[in-house]
């Protein structure tokens, strides 16, 4: 089933024969570090998230359960990753299905009206991007893909200004990573941005102080 070894050998030989120029140092004069953190960072993140049509709620830690519950009004059933803190859903009256030992199937997640609640690894204010790295409070990739409604909880300590700082915060880049900037969208029809094609059509972000 594998490729005949000579394709590999020949390509590598041809690359060597092409004698590419010698390697030069890369100028890294771009802004690799964040400016000072602060309230402005949260405001920037909110602005960027809303610009890309996510709904944003801000709350204190104590009112997180109530905020999540209010976003889930009318939602009969919620899927959560195995490590999501139980208290986040303590004010939600519906059914909570925990993806323990990969228990949830695609069909479960595709059922009408299912929402998913997760945390995130880090958020990038400048671009309105949430990065998920499959940690226990974020779970498998399909959890945040198949349901039509994703609620993502971001703590202010997880917000950075720029992408370089965000990538450096990830503990293990070889975990499956998903960067999310607004709900799914297409610009394929006359370049109008239309929200909601295959990914979740509703993205709610809760920012916890």
């Amino acid at each position: 089933m594998s490729t005949p070894p000579d394709a590999r050998t020949e390509i590598l030989r041809r690359v060597r024969a092409a004698q590419p120029s010698s390697s030069a140092p890369v100028p890294r004069d771009y802004a690799a570090d964040d400016g000072p953190a602060g309230v402005a960072l949260v405001d920037l993140l909110v602005d960027r998230l809303e610009d890309y049509k996510a709904t944003v709620r801000r709350c204190a830690a104590a009112s997180l359960p109530a905020t999540v519950a209010s976003l889930l009004t009318g939602v009969p059933s919620v899927a959560v990753p195995p490590g999501l803190p139980a208290e986040w859903l303590s004010a939600y009256p519906g059914t909570v299905s925990r993806d323990e030992a990969d228990a949830l199937t695609v069909a479960d997640l595709d059922a009408p009206g299912v929402a998913v609640v997760t945390g995130c690894a880090v958020a990038v204010a400048q671009t309105g991007t949430l990065i998920l790295d499959a940690s226990p409070d974020q779970g498998r990739r399909l959890l945040t893909l198949v349901p039509d409604h994703h609620i993502c909880v971001v703590h202010t300590s997880q917000i950075v200004e720029r992408l370089p700082a965000a990538l450096r915060r990830l503990p293990d880049p070889t975990r499956p990573l998903t960067m999310i900037s607004g709900p799914s969208a297409t610009s394929d029809i006359e370049l109008n941005r239309v929200e909601g094609v295959h990914g979740p059509r509703r993205l709610d972000v809760v920012i916890v102080a």
């Binding site: 394709a7 390509i11 092409a18 010698s22 030069a24 771009y30 990573l177 960067m179 094609v197």
Partner: protein, 480 residues
């Protein structure tokens, strides 16, 4: 070995261009689309104070990749293999298609879901799979439109840029199985909803996904797909088997290098600060996503391109399509005139280098050398320089046989020797173009340009020059 597949134009550029110029609807759609993305791009690039520094870093990182390609390829292979992926190598399009077809056949499935990928279009994968009884379902909305219409893409980023909403509705009504004709309007959200319904069951049940990759990270063995709709996530996450076709130039040395490219790419391509979804995966993750992961590394003319010290910078390309959207020639003739999956300015330098064959040698003439593509390029590929170089080598190849190309080249290289003289010539061309716009009529092409460009137009139609070059516009905008 030269590259093969959908990078060889069947007819010379001037022939195809003349045909496309007759299509008014196409030109109208193209103008609207390219101008829209162009404006969006300028807005979001303007938000980034260190944009020029990012471009410099992006170009240098890619040059470093090309300089260390053998060891980086081996490093990538080792890291991806250690993470559970199987790495295959393919010298040309046919070999790459055969590798993928064998892998799919071994799973026993007759249908695969695909996320838009230039590499798979380049090698003609869909046709090759069809030939062995495997149906490849394109899941990107624009690719789906093009596939339903039995057409080929006309733009790297927005392949259905040449259709307007009414045309798209008509295609869906006629070709999309089970579409609800009574409720389908030409409202973009309604069309997107129809596509979502059409593809959902396939995503949830298909066993094999096929993708390309925007970046392959040598130190971790990670692949990256940048997308908007979520169809990419579906294809990368739900199938049991994932096969990714990756050009050997797609490498980045380290994971940290993404901090440059994930800033450059979205702003340059869709004109967004960040695209809705970016997925990164490294081999197999137990319990999460495909449990069988294959990566096919493809040469297909890339090593030929690498061997040319001037031309190799084309391999920096990250397929953002910014150069298409600013190109006055592309805007008028559209993607199909280039006869290759790589259209526009990048196509004019990439296709002839990857496959030096026949009609591809006319592609380096598909340009006014106005320089807008270089200004827009996030990895600073000096496309005009490579165009001139390729024209020159085309002439060298036919030395002793005075050719039309040779005459044209002489003029263009004379013009290019001095930037000010060139700018003056282009301005003169545009002044001359005002009355000529009327006589050129629907062909939109000029019969003659003022000297010294006249030696070029005497052998072929030149596209109408833009009212002002990007360079002039930029200078004016930024001097006030």
């Amino acid at each position: 070995m030269s590259g093969t597949g959908n990078i060889v134009t069947p007819l010379p550029f001037p022939t195809l261009a003349r045909r496309e110029l007759g299509d008014q609807q196409l030109r109208h759609n193209l103008r609207k689309a390219t101008h829209t993305i162009r404006d969006k791009r300028l807005r979001v690039v303007g938000e980034v104070p260190d944009w020029e520094q990012l471009r410099m870093a992006g170009a240098a990182i890619k040059d470093d990749v090309l300089a260390r390609l053998p060891s980086l390829l081996e490093q990538f292979e080792a890291a991806a293999t250690a993470a559970g992926a199987t790495v295959h190598w393919a010298r040309d399009a046919a070999e790459a298609c055969a590798v993928v077809a064998d892998l799919v056949l071994a799973t026993g499935t007759a249908e695969v879901v695909k996320v838009k990928s230039m590499a798979t279009q380049e090698i003609g994968l869909n046709e090759a799979l069809e030939a062995v009884g495997i149906h490849a379902v394109e899941t990107d909305l624009a690719e789906l439109i093009v596939q339903l219409a039995d057409d080929t893409p006309s733009h790297i980023l927005v392949p259905a840029i040449h259709y307007n909403r009414t045309q798209i509705r008509d295609i869906f009504l006629e070709r999309m199985p089970g579409v609800d004709a009574s409720s389908l309007t030409d409202d973009p959200p309604a069309l997107a909803e129809a596509a979502r319904r059409h593809l959902r069951a396939r995503f949830l049940s298909t066993k094999v996904g096929i993708s390309g990759a925007n970046f392959a990270i040598a130190d971790t063995g990670t692949l990256t797909v940048v997308e908007s709709e979520g169809n990419g996530r579906m294809c990368l996450t739900l199938p049991e088997t994932l096969i990714s076709v990756v050009g050997i130039e797609k490498l980045l040395p380290t994971f940290a290098d993404l901090e440059v490219f994930l800033q450059l790419l979205p702003r340059s391509s869709t004109g967004e600060r960040m695209n809705p979804y970016t997925s990164l995966w490294t081999g197999v993750t137990p319990g999460d996503g495909p449990q069988t992961v294959h990566i096919v590394l493809v040469d297909n003319g890339r090593t030929d391109t690498l061997a040319d010290p001037v031309g190799r910078q084309a391999l920096r390309c990250i397929r953002c399509s910014a150069c298409l959207n600013v190109c006055p020639v592309y805007e008028r003739v559209g993607g199909h005139a280039y006869g290759s999956v790589y259209p526009g300015p990048i196509g004019a330098i990439l296709s002839p280098q990857m496959s030096g064959e026949g009609a591809n040698r006319t592609l380096p003439y598909a340009s006014t050398l106005c320089g807008a593509c270089f200004d827009a390029c996030p990895v600073r590929i000096d496309i005009p320089q490579v165009l001139v170089h390729l024209r020159q080598s085309g002439v060298d190849a036919s030395r002793g046989r005075p050719s039309a190309e040779r005459t044209a080249m002489r003029t263009m290289s004379y013009v290019m020797r001095d930037r000010r003289r060139y700018a003056a010539a282009l301005r003169a061309a545009r002044r001359g173009a005002a009355p000529l716009r009327l006589v050129a009529g629907r062909r939109g092409a000029l019969r003659r340009l003022p000297w010294p460009l006249s030696a070029w137009t005497s052998v072929r139609d030149a596209p109408l020059p833009p009212k002002q070059t990007f360079r002039e516009w930029w200078t004016r905008e930024h001097s006030s």
